[in-house]
């Protein structure tokens, strides 16, 4: 657990909506804590109220009950947000957009001082968009636009950064880039960063802490590994066919045939992956079919050699028993 100072804490907080006399509590009795230098991933099934909590913590909607403690109360200087709202602008450059982050610090005429300009420069550098800073925002790719919105939030220079699904609509490469950047920013800038995300695998590998919204309207928090091992993730997500403890998709050994695999390293891992995917069970049992992994080829039972994994699978499935009818 990161041991920075506490940036955000809530005490017995209820969040939700109030409309007239009706009140819809989405998450209740939350006592959460977020520290400087830490990246917290906020996860939970769709529709459980992740955005509602984020909006409440960002001060965009009122708390129903309880308290939220933030270091600075001045509007726009304690929390910066990156939201899911689609931003489309005309005639606005990347630099203009990032400059908007300075607005809480500017007078009515929006003149940027030299130090404001420097902060804008630094924010653009942190997301490595220097080359694009005079580009029009509406000409950017989704991944670049998300980086710009993060830079805009950084320029606000707040101790807390809240992002709602920043990796939605991005491809795998951009998703990894965004999460790595957020982790890096938490470490180097000392900000507390709260990210709502669906990226289970990425969150498990990058977050310092996970907040897990549970169906009983509360939030479990802890380091990712603890929540995996104590089964919290399984409780919440009711994972189907994915073994969180190994981080892999579960395979049914539907061929009911065992293979002894000899080898090591990445070639061993990916050969095992291929065999399991094809329905073989990989064991250490010395009495069954043996596949030996060598530098150039795969040798089955010391006789037949295959020069590629594809040919090995072809050979094995042709000579294998017909797939038993499970039904």
């Amino acid at each position: 657990m990161i041991s920075g100072e506490t940036i955000l804490s809530t005490a017995h907080a209820d969040v939700g909506y109030r409309q007239g006399r009706h009140e819809k509590v989405v998450l209740t009795n939350l006592s959460l804590e977020l520290r400087a230098h830490s990246l917290v991933c906020f996860m939970g099934p769709n529709g459980i109220g992740k955005s509602t909590l984020l909006r409440t913590l960002a001060g965009l909607q009122p708390l129903l009950r309880g308290g939220v403690n933030l270091p600075r109360v001045e509007a726009g200087k304690s929390v910066a947000v990156v939201l899911t709202d689609r931003v489309q602008t005309y005639n606005m450059t990347v630099r203009d957009m990032v400059s908007l982050g300075r607005y809480p610090h500017l007078a009515w005429h929006t003149h940027l001082s030299a130090s404001d300009d420097r902060i804008v420069d630094e924010s653009i550098e942190l997301v490595q968009l220097q080359n694009l800073q005079h580009q029009q925002v509406n000409e950017l790719s989704d991944g670049q636009l998300q980086m710009v919105m993060i830079a805009r939030a950084l320029a606000q220079q707040t101790p807390l950064l809240i992002l709602d699904e920043p990796t939605a609509h991005l491809d795998l490469n951009n998703r990894v880039e965004v999460m790595n950047l957020l982790r890096h920013l938490a470490r180097t800038t000392g900000k507390g960063i709260l990210v709502a995300t669906h990226e289970l695998d990425l969150a498990l590998q990058t977050a310092d802490e996970i907040w897990l919204a549970t169906p009983d309207k509360s939030i479990r928090s802890g380091i990712p590994e603890d929540l995996v091992l104590d089964g919290s993730f399984d409780d919440v997500f009711q994972l189907k066919g994915f073994d969180l403890k190994t981080g892999k998709v579960k395979h049914q050994p539907f061929r009911q045939e065992k293979i002894r695999l000899i080898g090591e390293g990445y070639r061993f891992l990916w050969t095992k992956n291929a065999l399991e995917r094809m329905g073989f069970e990989v064991t250490d049992d010395p009495d069954c079919l043996t596949v030996k992994i060598q530098t150039a080829d795969w040798v089955v039972d010391g006789t037949t050699a295959y020069e590629s994994l594809t040919k090995l699978l072809d050979g094995l499935t042709k000579s294998a028993k017909p797939i038993p009818n499970i039904n």
Binding site: A75, K77, D85, N91, M92, D96, T110
Partner: protein
């Protein structure tokens, strides 16, 4: 890597500064100002009555010598040109504010029903026995029309919370305009002949019927609205990102929206009270100005659309009274002719009509 050129004091860096984006904005404003001057000049020089240039010059330089040319110039053409410029800038500013506030390129005082709301308020005032153009009632008329605009605007703000689709909002606005217009038609039907005539002429839009007092009232109200809108300069730039970002950047969402709604309603009300419901200027001008002014910052856009709006309405006014024609065309026929293609262009250009 630092890609900015080192600051050197020589001719080449001077050229860089001259062609920098910053200066392209200043150049655009300069061009718009020159166009406005040309528009003013042409509008004063041209008219349905041909007056020799020498006579006009004589009248302009010697304002105290009575002559037919001086009469036309000082009592007709200059007030008319001034009214066109002021009304055009007011409507264009209202359009810009509405497009930013709703994040909707299809917003404008006419399409969202504000002009119609002002029209209904004025019609009710006429029914109550107020003569359009009556001296001494200028403030009352401006206030009545502004309240009419404001009522419709508040209704549209309510609608916009449920209807996030820009085209949907546009349709709602057109329906509100249709309802208010039909109420006006009913009022016309049951009103007396002389009231009816002044009102029907008013609905066609005109910048030629304002007296100096009305022009003064219109300018004062527009100036007030401009000050209100300038007080929201920061907020306007952030409204481009939407309501949530406005709140997160430390701007009070509700009060900011209220001030902007009030400003745009005053602009529409003041112009509509004296010139009638002028269509298409408010929606078209911001788009035309954005084509030449490369900025999303309202510090540039506000002067840009005010200059552009003044120029466009002057051009329309020149066209309604083309020399040789003995009659004036209705102003709204010309503004639609110039403005509607712009709206068509916007809809065709933007696949997804939203910013």
């Amino acid at each position: 890597m630092d890609t900015t050129p080192p600051p050197t004091e020589n001719a080449i860096s001077g050229l860089f500064t001259y062609f920098s984006p910053m200066n392209r904005k200043a150049q655009a404003l300069l061009i718009l100002a020159i166009l406005l001057m040309a528009g003013l000049l042409l509008d004063v020089l041209l008219g349905s009555v041909a007056v020799p240039l020498a006579d006009l010059w004589q009248a302009l330089t010697h304002p105290n010598e009575p002559s037919p040319a001086a009469d036309i110039l000082w009592h007709f053409r200059i007030p008319k040109a001034a009214t066109a410029a002021v009304a055009g800038s007011g409507l264009a500013l209202a359009g810009l504010v509405m497009q930013t506030l709703f994040r909707n390129p299809l917003a404008g005082p006419d399409v969202l029903g504000l002009s119609a709301g002002a029209g209904l308020a004025v019609a009710l005032a006429v029914m109550a026995g107020i003569q359009i153009g009556e001296i001494g009632l200028a403030w009352g008329l401006a206030a009545t029309a502004s309240v009419g605009s404001l009522s419709v605007f508040l209704l549209m703000v309510l609608f916009s919370r449920k209807m996030t689709d820009p085209v949907g909002l546009l349709i709602l606005g057109l329906m509100v305009a249709a309802i208010t217009s039909s109420i006006v038609s009913v009022l016309q039907f049951i009103s007396q002949a002389e009231q009816l005539q002044s009102f029907v002429i008013w609905t066609m839009g005109s910048v030629g019927n304002t007296n100096p007092r009305e022009l003064g009232v219109m300018m004062t109200v527009i100036l007030l609205a401009l000050l209100i809108i300038l007080s929201q300069l920061k907020a306007l730039n952030v409204w481009l990102l939407g309501e949530s970002y406005v709140g997160s950047l430390g701007i009070r969402v509700k009060s900011s929206r209220l001030w902007l709604v009030a400003g745009a309603s005053l602009l529409t009300g003041a112009v509509t009270a004296f010139c009638g419901p002028i269509a298409f200027v408010g929606i078209a001008v911001p788009h035309l100005v954005r084509l030449v002014l490369p900025s999303a910052h309202h510090g540039w856009l506000i002067p840009g659309v005010m200059l552009g709006g003044a120029t466009l309405l002057l051009v329309c006014d020149i066209l309604v009274q083309l020399p040789g024609g003995s009659q004036y065309l209705p102003l709204n026929a010309i503004t639609a002719l110039l403005g509607a293609p712009v709206v068509i262009m916007v809809v065709m250009k933007t696949k997804n009509v939203r910013w």
